[in-house]
Subunit: 405 residues, 2 copies
């Protein structure tokens, strides 16, 4: 008689996005003539760039010829891509990351969800709060999070690191020592980013306590300020305490193409000397069959001079949206954060409204959809997320409507 994984049953329903969808549906039914504009999505809207399209076509063509056809890819990724990543994302920034420490995958979400599997079940995780839900959910599914308390919206074994305007969204070191620390910078949802000095503090803490940092750098391409590290390996000592997860989704628009990678340095070992590198390699080899050649070839094209130029243009397009939202809302008197090193604007709800109250106001009075901050964790309450991934025209129109509330 088979039994199910009971830890799955502890998962909370994904109330956030279903809650948003049902409210938008109700609004549309009552207001059939009004166009709803979404500044809630985390998905890109710009098409793939010419360099990427050209590379995809090339790769497809080669898969139709006997001489150039490629079957199973190497488990960990093609050398041409891993070498390029090592050079362009790391060595060029002075980071010591070798080509064979790079594990190419079908995306940062898979890696974020799967990485916890190489750790023992007794490890205590810490997450910044608010946070991208996958970090916590994947640990719930592995039985690491204890009991859920409806009242506080917290798991008993998880260490929450509040990030609010009060600490400038830079979390304080925890009182209890976590084993695994998830850090996303630039951050989804707060749109803030840790400075080199602040990140170094975490690297030092992790090395001192033999904790491991899972560093999610999916939004690295949006960094505009000098002092913000693009990789955790810019910090001294990160090779012995940090895993870094990267994505092609938000820089090159690969949300529907699927490509990402994770760095596990060979120097990163448990107290009893087991290298995480070999464990992650084994997971890749056993439960994954390599990212597609077509995608890897296109990913490599992203690093060409022309590819980089196109990407900067796309990032610039979104960041102009971010600037517009940020500046306009400031002018209207909102307390606004983010939007400088990240495509997310994080605002304090006015008049101490709850996140959901403000959601309703924005929807009903402006026909604009955003994301209630409380959906990302307890410290997100009284905050609200707007994203810069919309089209210019829609973003402008949304801002105009918010002005007229």
């Amino acid at each position: 008689m088979f039994t199910v994984n009971k830890d799955y049953l502890a998962l909370r329903g994904s109330y956030l996005f279903s809650g948003i969808a049902s409210r938008v549906r109700d609004y549309k039914n009552s207001n059939p003539d009004k166009k709803v504009i979404s500044l809630g999505i985390g998905d890109v809207t710009r098409p793939l760039t010419p360099v990427v399209i050209k590379a995809l076509h090339e790769a497809v063509e080669s898969q139709g010829q006997e001489e150039t056809f490629k079957g199973y890819a190497p488990d960990l990724g093609y050398v041409f891509l891993r070498d390029t990543i090592a050079e362009k994302d790391f060595k060029s920034r002075g980071c010591e990351v070798e080509s064979d420490e790079i594990f190419v995958s079908d995306g940062a979400k898979s890696d974020s969800g799967n990485i916890q599997e190489i750790f023992g079940r007794d490890n205590i995780i810490a997450v910044t709060d608010p946070v991208y839900p996958v970090y916590v959910d994947s640990n719930v599914m592995a039985g690491r999070t204890g009991e859920y308390d409806e009242k506080t919206d917290r798991w008993s074994k998880v260490i929450y690191l509040p990030c609010t305007a009060g600490n400038n969204f830079s979390p304080a070191l925890p009182e209890r020592t976590p084993d695994i620390i998830y850090i996303c910078s630039p951050n989804n949802p707060t749109g803030s980013a840790l400075s080199r000095h602040e990140l170094q503090k975490w690297v030092d803490y992790a090395n001192e306590h033999h904790s491991v940092i899972i560093f999610d750098a999916a939004y690295e391409a949006y960094i505009s300020e000098e002092d913000i590290p693009h990789s955790i390996y810019e910090c001294e000592g990160a090779r012995t305490c940090a895993i870094e997860i990267r994505s092609f989704s938000k820089n090159a628009g690969f949300t529907g193409v699927r490509l990402g990678y994770t760095v596990v340095p060979k120097d990163l070992k448990s107290a009893d000397g087991v290298g995480l590198y070999s464990l992650w390699k084994r997971r890749h080899g056993t439960k994954f069959n390599g990212a597609p050649y077509i995608q890897q070839w296109a990913g490599c094209a992203v690093y060409s001079e022309e590819g980089q130029k196109e990407i900067r243009e796309n990032v610039g397009y979104y960041m102009e949206n971010a600037r517009l939202i940020r500046e306009s809302l400031k002018d209207m008197g909102y307390e606004v954060y983010g939007g400088v090193n990240a495509p997310y604007i994080w605002l304090k709800t006015p008049d101490n409204m709850t996140s959901w109250e403000f959601f309703d106001v924005l929807l009903k009075k402006a026909g604009v959809v955003g994301t209630p901050g409380s959906g990302f964790g307890p410290s997100g309450e009284h905050y609200f997320r707007l994203t810069a991934f919309g089209k210019h025209e829609d973003t402008k129109e949304a801002v105009k409507r918010i002005q007229s509330i």
Copy 2:
């Protein structure tokens, strides 16, 4: 202080393929002029077919246009593909499988490895022996398999179902009742396939004992005989006991393209009434971000009339290799199995040689590489696998060389 997943440390090294590689390397060093022919690979060699290439180009093109660009795919797959699969792979065969019971993924290997995660850690698995290593390894990594015994090459908690010439490679029902039963038919590595009657026996057994069958049908396209079911849902009662995993790798040559799917019927529930459907859906939603649009569009094209014709041609190409190997070896006096409903030929080693001894004879006397049966499990000892995925010329040459031993 973080700790690692100790269950990973119990994994056996992948001695099989590294062992093969090192022997081939030694042989090549000693015989630099001789061309080694591999009939050991499980990867396809024919390029993608014109219909697939055309669809891939179409999809790529649409990803470069603002009007048709698609970002994140639906977690479970595009409706256009799921509807097509439901119709062409199931309803057309009289199987009751609905479109929304189909979970599109990046391939059967990921699904085979991940599916165990939705079950409790205390479940006992049964595998046919010999077997595709991923079923056992992914359960070792989850702590379900007990202790490994070097002498018997067996895990203490795993139920092995021997498949040998003695039982015509159709496993007998086990004495101890397993909770999860892995069945691959047509089978890798034995090349045999279960008849409808034999598979029905397992479905009845699973329903009676409330076990679940993980049915791997990756080689379904190679079935040539009437009486062999293409899907487990051709058996009565399978909807309450079976999950089916399918691949585009071996029919459409997608080994490097990456696309597969898994069927979890909504009727499949644990004894206490938890639907596996909702658990697998949650896993897909949390640790996976959808298969790429480009791949799904190409997968859909595989089902077109022209696509099916091309696939039958490719399958025919490989099966002509299978016929040649099978018939020629029979003529030489070998005891040969498989190769009728599967691209694998499974032969008994002559003169009671061990699998590795025969490997050495074949390599040294004929310059031909195959796979020692013992690498797939204890009951694979004294057997040897040859695959039909080579090029015609190479396969012919290999057969000629074996004849001259």
